[in-house]
């Protein structure tokens, strides 16, 4: 299957390569001339001839419609730039992008998660954007520092952050009320959390279903591990450290939820969230993207707050959507400068994007009164201070899968937390070594 795919891509590449070569020679006339308008000025404006830009993203939910509305608005405001959007499932999208880009069939702009940037940068799919940041005078001060630094790989900028989406703490108000808890005072500390769960248990509710899968149990563990002061990798992402004492303690706290009867065993994929929606449990640690889904179901009384502090410090899993420019077409100077204009424009208009259920990365937008009015999304904005983003190293995706799989074994009681995490680290370290060989860092 893989081989077929490759050979077809090759064939495609041949055909499209010829076309691309033809258009390059045409574009070359304007592109070489640095003084001309076509050279671009890092995204301030674009005055060249009309260009068509292709943009790929993975916004398959309600966020996709909001994104398209924004793009339409951009297109009406910019007569000489026409952006067309294609949406794929994230998973397919990341598999498809490199092949499409190298055959010249890829997009000009690609939206990407922060933890994918390093891999795609190392594999030469996306291009550096330092000049965009410079010309637009974007700096760390305009964004949350954690999000801003996440766009870097080898000290070069590859992504302009659009938003950040952390894990939040959802609570079912009616279930809390039935158990005699104050629905407007969700627990914020470990003591309060355990006390609330004990009350819920008394009323016959297993309050906090611990999912063994990445969504949402794995991300919950990721957050707790950082709350205990641990980390998944060491600072250079050379060694896996998720079997530290802190990590084992955090994992044990979670798996004990089952032992203490606060969670049923063998929670299935999505079962934790479905149970939350149908009032079978009270607390769910889930992504900010669920806000819009919950808003749609009017029968449930719910609230959302930053994650309670269970460990010694505050921390929350988070990721971020970034704009990148794809290298395959980077030779066309007009397209590149038009892409930069688009990225800057959308970054400035990310308040509308916040309505899709994401915290805008740009500070000015977060301080806007319009954002403050988005009560639920705004409730999670404080998490930006201590959000634990994945580190920037190429090929980390498979190592993170190993991390989540070890948690799965511990959560399902197949291995003790210590054993599961030790085994996971042993494998992760081999994978990291393979990656170093492959990407040569």
């Amino acid at each position: 299957m893989i081989h077929n795919e490759m050979s077809r891509r090759r064939l495609l590449g041949l055909g499209l390569g010829l076309g691309a070569a033809a258009s390059l020679t045409l574009a070359g006339c304007g592109g070489d001339d640095d003084a001309g308008p076509a050279a671009g000025n890092g995204g301030k404006d674009y005055t060249g001839p009309k260009v068509d830009l292709k943009l790929w993203n993975g916004f398959t939910g309600g966020d996709g419609d909001i994104f398209k509305t924004l793009v339409n608005q951009f297109n009406t405001e910019h007569q000489n730039i026409a952006v067309s959007v294609a949406t794929y499932q994230w998973e397919d999208y990341y598999n498809k992008l490199p092949g499409a880009a190298s055959s010249g069939n890829g997009p000009d702009i690609a939206v990407m998660h922060m933890d994918q940037l390093a891999t795609f940068a190392a594999r030469g799919v996306i291009t550096e954007l330092d000049d965009v940041a410079k010309t637009l005078e974007l700096s760390e001060g305009d964004f949350a520092p954690t999000v801003w630094k996440g766009g870097l790989y080898n000290d070069k900028r590859y992504g302009i952050p659009l938003d950040m989406h952390p894990l939040g703490f959802y609570y079912n108000k009616s279930v809390m009320q039935k158990a005699g808890l104050d629905p407007n005072k969700p627990p914020t500390t470990r003591e309060e959390y355990t006390a609330a769960l004990t009350e819920l248990k008394k009323s016959g509710v297993q309050g906090f279903w611990v999912s063994p899968f990445q969504f949402t149990g794995g991300m919950t563990f990721y957050s707790l591990l950082h709350q205990w002061g641990g980390s998944v990798f060491d600072a250079e992402a050379k060694n896996a450290t998720f079997n530290s004492d802190q990590a084992v303690e955090a994992c044990t706290w979670l798996t004990d939820m089952v032992k203490q009867g606060f969670s049923p065993a063998n929670v299935g994929q999505d079962a934790d969230y479905l149970a939350f929606k149908s009032g079978k449990n009270a607390f769910n640690w889930n992504g900010i993207w669920q806000i819009n889904d919950l808003k749609k179901s009017s029968e449930i009384q719910w609230g959302v707050a930053p994650l309670p502090q269970i460990g010694s410090q505050q921390a929350a899993w988070a990721n971020s959507h970034n704009f990148t420019i794809v290298k395959g077409r980077a030779n066309d100077a007009n397209k590149v400068s038009a892409s930069k204009v688009f990225i800057n424009w959308l970054s400035e208009h990310s308040l509308d994007w916040a309505k899709g259920g994401q915290v805008p990365a740009r500070k000015t937008v977060r301080e806007d009164a319009g954002f403050k009015a988005l009560a639920e999304v705004n409730a999670l904005a404080p998490e930006l201070e201590y959000a634990a983003f994945p580190p920037a190293a190429p090929g980390l995706g498979e190592v993170m899968t190993t991390f989540y799989n070890s948690f799965n074994e511990a959560a399902l009681g197949k291995k003790s937390p210590k054993q599961a995490l030790d085994d996971g680290v042993a494998k992760a370290n081999k994978q990291l070594e393979d990656n170093r060989k492959k990407y040569g860092s």
């Binding site: 893989i2 279903w209 049923p264 079978k280 498979e398 799965n408 494998k427």
Partner: protein
């Protein structure tokens, strides 16, 4: 299948026309020799481009560390293969676990998928009111895509919220069976769902085979006083042999290629115990961008399947003698 082979063999062995005068005969012979190849050419070209070429490319990939996006794709000799067999490599554990998962699944699903559809076909071959309706009902699940049946059963089998455990509880069975998160239950679920899903297809093949068995044979057997079992044993089964070979071969291959069911229903849980070979190859090649390693795995896996298929053909040829 057997028919095709016989026809091909008869052509190849056909002796040239005996008493031809030298000159004219040679020319006729030459065009005659080219004819079969001309007829085969359209398929041969397709087979060459989409069958042989990818195999050769796969072999070539498997001796490289190959990421088509990186400029540096070093030749690594047999390292990708050695990694699969040396216990200190990063993929050794995952690879053999996926082989084990696939073997377990194949071992339990194939007998069921060979025997149950046969019974089904025998029933559906009788004449009774509503026969067409039942034929359609049993075939129906097969037309659904794996995504549909995967999601459907994941929710039905959920340990805490699913309908299956709820019904089990109502009739006094344990209501907390972890159908999709713990072995051996996960295997029961995967095999059960697959049998439900694909039995209809095998049953249709059997049904076609059953209708090819001449009615006279049954009548003759009846006249000779054969019981229903004896008629099944000595008329039906021998009559179905070529069909059976086809069903077993395709079912073994289909089961060994299992991917969607475990990807969607168990998601590999617990840990990676139910992650199958094809899934792991896809992950290695497309997600982790190591096409070389994925190619090596594909080739080793293809060899394993070849051995199974050869054994299968041997078994049936032996019986024919």
């Amino acid at each position: 299948m057997a028919d095709v082979i016989e026809v091909g063999a008869a052509r190849g062995d056909a002796p040239p026309p005996a008493a031809d005068p030298a000159g004219r005969g040679a020319r006729a012979n030459r065009t005659g020799r080219a004819t079969p190849y001309l007829f085969l050419a359209p398929y041969l070209i397709l087979f060459g481009v989409f069958g042989l070429l990818p195999i050769v490319l796969g072999l070539w990939l498997s001796v490289h560390q190959w990421d088509f996006q990186l400029p540096n794709r070093p030749f690594v000799g047999l390292d990708n293969y050695k990694d699969l067999f040396s216990s200190d490599s990063a993929v050794y554990g995952d690879w053999w676990q996926s082989v084990r998962a696939t073997a377990i699944f194949t071992l339990f699903s194939v007998p069921l998928l060979v025997v149950l559809p046969l019974g089904l076909a025998l029933l559906l071959n009788r004449s009774f009111p509503g026969r067409t309706f039942f034929r359609a009902v049993y075939f129906a699940p097969y037309v659904l895509g794996v995504a549909v049946i995967g999601l459907l059963w994941r929710f039905l089998l959920d340990a805490n919220l699913g309908l299956v455990n709820r019904l089990a509880g109502l009739v006094g069975l344990p209501a907390d069976t972890p159908w999709v998160t713990s072995t051996p239950w996960a295997w029961v679920s995967l095999v059960g769902v697959t049998v439900w899903w694909t039995s209809g297809f095998n049953a249709v093949i059997y049904l076609a085979g059953l209708q090819d068995i001449p009615q006279e044979l049954y009548e003759a057997a009846k006249v000779d006083g054969a019981t229903a079992w004896e008629r099944f044993r000595h008329v039906t089964l021998p009559g179905l042999r070529p069909v059976m070979l086809f069903v077993i071969t395709t079912t073994v291959l289909a089961s060994a290629n299992v991917f969607g069911q475990s990807f969607l229903i168990t998601q590999g849980a617990p840990g990676t115990e139910t992650r199958t070979v094809v899934w792991f190859i896809v992950e290695e090649g497309l997600r982790d961008n190591d096409a070389g390693r994925a190619a090596a795995m594909s080739i080793v896996f293809a060899l394993m399947l070849a051995v199974v298929s050869i054994a299968n053909f041997r078994l049936f040829r032996y019986r024919e003698d």
